[in-house]
Amino acid sequence: MALAKRIIPCLDVDKGRVVKGVNFVGIRDAGDPIEVARRYNEQGADELTMLDITATHEGRETMIDTVHSIAGQVFIPLTIGGGIRTCEDIRAMLNAGADKVSINSAAVKNPAFVNEASERFGAQCIVVAIDAKQTGAGEWEIFTHGGRQPTGIDAVQWARDMEGRGAGEILLTSMDRDGVKTGFDLALTRAVADAVSIPVIASGGVGNLDHLADGVLEGHADAVLAASIFHFGEFTVPQAKQHMQGRGIEMRL
């Protein structure tokens, strides 16, 4: 009897539509984030994360409408990330029905924004997203702009700093592994998870169900995030949970 490790499907959304595609059996419209969110909810996902990759103001308004619709139908925690730059952005998402927001480059640009957001809205809804690349043995650096721009910041040190500033959770993505399907960067995950006392979500690289279990057992992650293995019906959330439980991990079945 213990706290369950979480499985978090992740959707990339552009102008109110799921991109990179979702291909469930029986789904009517693979681009409708509301339908996709409902499907993952039915499968027993523990949380949902949606990353807004929209660049325009109009697109952002659409995202708020999407969050509003999902929150009226899906009763599990919902995290929204992408383009969160001000407390007004956070307020708009929380009012629309998001439970947490994920802050990425705005934290790199102005770390005090994390303090401000945490004090104003509470640490429980502030997730700091970290995109890291390996730069040496046991060394990882923060990158922004989709992994193109180095910052010179050490990832483990940065995670500690973000915890100190009031982050409630870390969403850690390995840029080396993202989309590669060879598994999480377990050394990175473990280095960060062991360095902070807040929960860490492992992200980037999942290609099979053992990768999810490894993220918890070897990476010490508190939650695992995945997109494509679920989107294309390769595996369902219940299959993932059964598999992880079979490897001795506490899950919500």
Partner: protein, 214 residues
């Protein structure tokens, strides 16, 4: 049409709570209000809350909610959620010590950093995610929900499980703590029913049909 009022005092997950109630009680009117008169006229009242205890209690006093809760919570079904539960106790150690509303004896304190659980894994703070709740009281709000069902928690402070006769549900994270408390027509949960999928919705449905007795 029966009215369920979700108290708005400027702090809290009001919309999530209201949407969940609307979902399970389509034949009742769910209002979000900070108006004492309107809340006092409601058939059922929900006190949500997130964020820092000191800010929540201050906002409750400023909005006249503290006095209102004392006045109406024991004559109709009343539900506290998360910090809305913690606020019903006497005292919290958060923010250097905060006196709360005192409807339940006991105090709220922080989980310790750096502790490990029975399996040797570290207990991170906040306690975030799905944990099991042992139903320690036979209460109408648990109807149709399995004992040891999992609910979604996110909190760094917890209420000590005393006195036992007012604890409706127990959860263990480092230590056993009060996941739900009950007395008279008051029920309150540390977890978020509005984020706890089918079992959470069932608890709200039970609340929407509860007559305040157990």
């Amino acid at each position: 049409m029966a009215v369920i009022a979700v108290i708005d005092y400027g702090m809290g997950n009001l919309h999530s709570v209201a949407k969940a109630l609307e979902h399970v009680a389509p034949n009742q009117q769910v209002i979000i209000s900070g108006d004492s008169q309107r809340i006092a006229e409601a058939d059922r009242v929900v006190l949500p809350g997130v964020g820092a205890m000191r800010d929540c209690i201050k906002a409750m006093h400023d909005a006249g909610v503290a006095e209102l809760v004392h006045r109406i919570s024991r004559d109709r079904p009343f539900l506290g959620v998360c910090v809305g539960m913690q606020a019903l106790l006497e005292h919290s150690t958060e923010n250097g010590g905060v006196d709360a509303l005192g409807l339940f004896p006991g105090r709220v304190q922080r989980f310790e950093n750096g502790l490990i659980d029975a399996s040797g894994a570290p207990c991170k703070v906040p306690h975030m995610g799905w944990n099991q709740v042992e139903q320690t009281l036979d209460h109408p709000l648990w109807q149709g929900i399995d004992n040891q069902a999992r609910f979604y928690f996110v909190h760094s402070y917890y209420a000590r499980p005393e006195p036992r006769d007012q604890v409706a549900g127990l959860c263990t994270y480092q230590v056993p703590f009060a996941a739900a408390i009950a007395r008279d027509s008051i029920f309150a949960t540390q977890f978020h029913p509005e984020k706890s999928a089918a079992d959470g919705l069932r608890l709200y449905r039970n609340f929407a049909h509860w007559d305040g007795r157990y």
